[in-house]
Amino acid sequence: MTIFLNLVTIIMYFFFSKLNPDLTIFGISSTYLEFCFLGLSLQMIIGTSLSTVCGSLYNEIITGTWSTLLLNFNFLEYAIGNTIAGVLLASVSVVIALSLAFLFMGAFYIISFQELLLIFILFILILLSHMAISMIFSSFTIYYQKDSGLVSLLYQLSKTFTGVVFPIALLKGFPLFLSKILPLTYGLEALQSIALSDSVDWVLILGNSIILIVITAILGIASYFLVNWSIRHSKKYNKVDWY
């Protein structure tokens, strides 16, 4: 179903690209199709990394397995294990969708081995920052025993304001501010510089990577303390097996 849904989304933007949106005015030399396929692929995987920890935890609470899980796992292990599993599964559907796009729609990316390594490092950084955000949302779920709906909100915000299907150069005022506080903006900007530009902008990639590392470190530490505090609170008030 996910592969089908990803394909439907890609086909929709394929037909939109036939309206010939001009990206050169935003300083992007690639075609719209190449630009949005890169964004959509990343967004599909990041969506999984964002929702996995929080979503799985909510399911554990509802189905009553959360209390057993606390006895057997450390939350960080649980978060990392779930994210890797989710991201690997999501990547399969994205790779299939991209291969079909490559074969039938004419979206090409010419990437060297060095660039591929850079993409991989950036991908890991983006993934870690979103896992940290998901852990913060999980702490709210543990504390309130309710699904806050924040994951779907952040997913929608990331899809809209980080330059997934249109360049962030279109944004002004508050939407631009929103885009600057979302980690995917920095990751995607760096990836677009590698995969879509003729020459790699090292200053931009380095700058954005540092921003991603700082965001991940701050959110990671905050999430670790928040989750532990929520677990302690839920144990103290006997809410672990309660929904």
Partner: protein
Amino acid sequence: MSVEKTAKVINQFSSSEKTISFIVGFRATFSRNLKIIWQYKFSLLIGFVNTFTVACLFYYIANLVPNQLISQDGYSVNSVPFIFAGSMLVDISTRILMKAMNSFTSEIRQGTFETLATQPFGLKKYFFSEITFEVLYGLFFSLIYYIPVLLIFPIFRGIKVDVVSVISFLLLLVFVFLFFFSLSLLAANITILVKRGREISMVIIGVLHLLSGTLFPLSLFPNWLRIIAYFSPMTLAVQAFRLCLFGNGTIGDFSVWMSILILAVTSLIILLLFNLTYKKIYKRIRSKGTIHEY
């Protein structure tokens, strides 16, 4: 429990005889759901931000082709209102479907569906009242959320629509929502069998968005895909919606009356399908013992 007794219990929930009246049960479902929503007050605020974000997405995508004039059904309009109008209609309609599916999925996951289904109220009445609530709730809040969004993005400012077009437009909307009501009923029925409500609704929403040409005119489709697109009732509905809004279309125009007719007929067929299948599906999940599974 013996087979006879099980059959008696099944008969009790599936028959409306000796059960409470529809109005009483309907009121109870409404009151219960309102209490649940009140517990999730925060999600009402998130709903607005979500609507605003979706509207932003379509607004900015449309602004990638800001100077294109799109001609369809005898009118010409700028691509920004064209894309925004189609996307808004599909977004509101599919939000209703999503709410209904999420509600059933949530009942199944939390194990409350089993209890609700065996109430003396009757399964069919429960389905109707639950979906009616979700449709009205989804519709009410979508419209409330879109008012500030339309004030932020004054896309339709300057568009003059005459009274007959407004009436035709409202009539069309009624049938669009009737279609989504029936679709939600049938999809909810399938959800209790396959237990994948969210996925089912996501696929339906994706296909409807693609086929109804929300982001582009249907003339960009190859012929074979355009033929397939017209099998979706929402394709003609979006076309008629845009015609009423930008081309002063009325009920006398082919695409408007045809759209209303197709929506009405499709809704009727879906309701009949629901009526034919709901008992069979319920019996099947009971006999397989999967009612409480997710």
